[in-house]
Symmetry: C2
Subunit: 211 residues, 2 copies
């Protein structure tokens, strides 16, 4: 190896150390506002016994975006064409951006999926009717999906929160990023569009965990 | 001072050190999308010799929100009622959110105010006509306005970039926050609504500088 090659090798190592090795980079998934429906609410909005139409598989196995959308309505405003994600769930959950809360005139806090106790209710309108949920309006808390094998590799565990780092002109660190471990997860860091835009991230970006 | 008081004092000092002392906290100003116009473009949009109507003073001395708004139009979509900020400037500058770029169908990069060379142009529509700017569409790079006295206090200088820290469930660190020093500045950290929402910040929030 001549001098030139040695310098290049050192440079490449420095760059790699700076950006985190590829192996430890986590792909980013950017979530826009969306709705998960219970079968009962799906029936009320689209008709008795309605079945959702799968449009596109999502990165997490078994999850998919549907052809169907609803209008989300609050006391101050409405947001049309909010995508429904399938399959149906035990309880309806409406995940919005912080900016949407101002538009709707509803208060919400960052919560993990399923942590709906005490959250605000919201009105959904579909082609066959409307529902007023008692709770379930959340801003999704940022989180990382991974398998138990990933958790061992990254040295983290389910329920833990970590900080994630990003680079670029809008780079920085997001604290309180929850770790979600399941056997069927696909490794992905879920941020909403405001978080992704604030850090200059898109769906082809990656982040690294810093502790 | 008894033992109880001594413990409380130590605790309070620890809390204060953790959150930054009040003296070193910087108020946050949240900017939504807005437009600065040249007199020439103001004339084209609102009529020859038009004068902007001051609606509300802004925190930076001499700056104000105007009664007038324009529609910002790109190849893929339009955004109505975008606020004009006064007074008129040498060159028209349109500051949008990253999400707006998707809606408009225009690419933009974080830039400091006035750094318009090479940025995209955009169409503005007013009550008396429209203009197609050659450049000037930017996403505002986050920055902190301060006086020379503030700069001495914080140990920073004009043109430097620093990291800023925030607390709370969406807390974190934004890197590459530019320092802007002028004699007439009011101490304030300017973030756009996506940045503020991503970090859980509002107009009554504060941040601290971390180096």
């Amino acid at each position: 190896m001549d001098k030139y090659e040695a310098v290049i090798k050192l440079l490449m190592e420095a760059v790699k150390a700076e950006s985190g090795t590829d192996e430890f980079r986590i792909p980013v998934g950017v979530s826009n506002r969306h709705v998960h429906l219970s079968q009962e609410d799906l029936d009320a909005l689209f008709g008795q016994g309605y079945e959702l139409t799968k449009m596109k598989e999502l990165s997490q196995p078994g999850q998919y975006a549907c052809k169907e959308t609803v209008t989300v309505c609050g006391p101050k405003g409405a947001i049309e064409k909010v995508r429904i994600l399938g399959p149906v769930r035990k309880q309806t959950q409406v995940e919005v951006l912080a900016a949407d809360c101002f538009k709707l005139g509803k208060k919400s806090e960052p919560k993990m999926s399923g942590e709906l106790a005490g959250t605000a209710g919201i009105t959904l309108v579909g082609p066959k009717g409307s529902v007023q949920t008692k709770e379930g309006l959340i801003i999704a808390q940022r989180h990382i999906h991974m398998t138990p094998q990933d958790a061992v590799k990254f040295g983290v565990h389910d329920g833990q929160t970590v900080s994630i780092q990003t680079e670029g002109i809008r780079g920085g660190i997001f604290q309180h990023t929850a770790i979600r471990v399941t056997d069927t997860s696909s490794l992905e860091c879920h941020l909403d569009t405001e978080e992704a835009n604030a850090m200059g991230l898109g769906s082809s970006s990656t982040v690294t965990i810093v502790k």
